[in-house]
């Protein structure tokens, strides 16, 4: 891919990824991944990329765009891929702020807010569950097995259980952030140190 193609491809991804960077994974795998010699990414490289992007600090979508750009065109490619993916949002977010303000009282905006406010709350809670599955719980939550137990069809929990070090950290974080002015970046660093010894898998 040339630099220009890289920018345009990621600009398109930026326009298409509704619901956040997670959506980038299916988009990327449809457009860029293949085992054919001409394909920009092999399936193995892509699998590596997804796991690295998730454990590296920073927005997952940006990590992904940077990595793909780098594999195509080096450092310049990394910069252009990243800029491409954020360009549409720069215009759209500012446009959305202005439209919401301007048509505050109209039915579409009122309805939009009536639907999106509770939806945001629900999605933030499911994000907490996603993070819990990576830390507090030892595996993903086995919803299907729970359902079997409730309906009396057997079901087994397998390796599902709690990582107690993580439980302690999560439970301490909530009151500390709600009740004190303790700086959260220090809290993150302390959690990393505590976790290295008490949260091992």
């Amino acid at each position: 891919m040339t630099l220009w193609e890289l920018y345009i491809t990621f600009f398109k991804f930026g326009l298409l990824c509704f619901g956040g960077g997670y959506m980038l994974v299916p988009l990327l795998s449809a457009d860029l991944v293949g085992s054919a010699p001409g394909a920009p990414l092999t399936p193995e490289a892509f699998a590596n990329l997804v796991s690295i992007a998730q454990v590296t600090p920073g927005p997952i979508g940006i990590n992904t765009a940077t990595y793909v750009g780098f594999t195509q065109q080096g450092i310049l490619g990394a910069c252009l891929g990243t800029l491409g993916i954020v360009t549409p949002a720069l215009f759209l977010v500012i446009l959305a702020i202005k439209l919401l303000k301007r048509y505050e009282k109209s039915v579409p905006v009122q309805g939009f807010l009536a639907g999106m406010r509770p939806a945001s709350f629900g999605l933030v809670l499911s994000a907490a569950l996603v993070f819990a599955e990576l830390s507090v719980f030892r595996t993903e939550i086995p919803w299907g097995e729970f359902w079997k137990m409730v309906t009396g069809a057997g079901g087994s929990l397998g390796g599902f259980g709690l990582n107690w070090g993580c439980v302690v950290l999560a439970a301490v974080t909530v009151p500390v952030l709600m009740k004190t002015k303790f700086p959260f970046l220090w809290l993150l660093l302390l959690s990393a140190i505590f976790g290295a010894f008490f949260c091992q898998p």
Partner: protein, 204 residues
Amino acid sequence: MSGHSRHYSEIGVWERSWVLFWSYIKITSLVIGGGYAIIAAAQEEFVHRRGWLTDDDVLEMITITQTVPGILACNSAIYIGWRINGLPGSLAALLGSILPSLVTIVCIAAAISSVAEVIQNAYIQGAFRGVIACIVGMVIVTALKMRKKAVKGWFGWVIAAGCLVGMSVFGVNPAWLIVGAIVLGISQVTVLRLKKREGAEAKK
């Protein structure tokens, strides 16, 4: 990380952009987990520590960042930057949100195979889990702070529960949940307005 905190109206335009840029650099170079984790950290920084935005602003921010396509963390940076310092603020915060990734990923990409090995180390895995557990707490705090204003009446609880169960239990693509919530919201507001009008006409 010092305790001094002045309101942004008391400082110059350049300094505001600098604070936005630097705060986002700090957040995105430490916070693992992407969008929601970074939004929770930004709320801590700009609402709780600096008092530059309110919890209501954060609710509006989350509403907008999820509806507009793009990377959640970057959308939130553009929003916060715009509210505090217009376009220069948006650009500063956006740049701050992508620079650490750019640097780290380029370094990692250059040494990907050895990095993949180091990540498997038990202490490193423990540290990751510790940070993510702390982020679980941070995201729960974000949810608690937005609940009162975000979820009103049974209608709100139905949508919130629908989104939670739809995404967590059934793995529905959040884009569909968002479209569904907006359609339901607009129908509810339309019905309420029609009822109101009927009521007003009946009184006449």
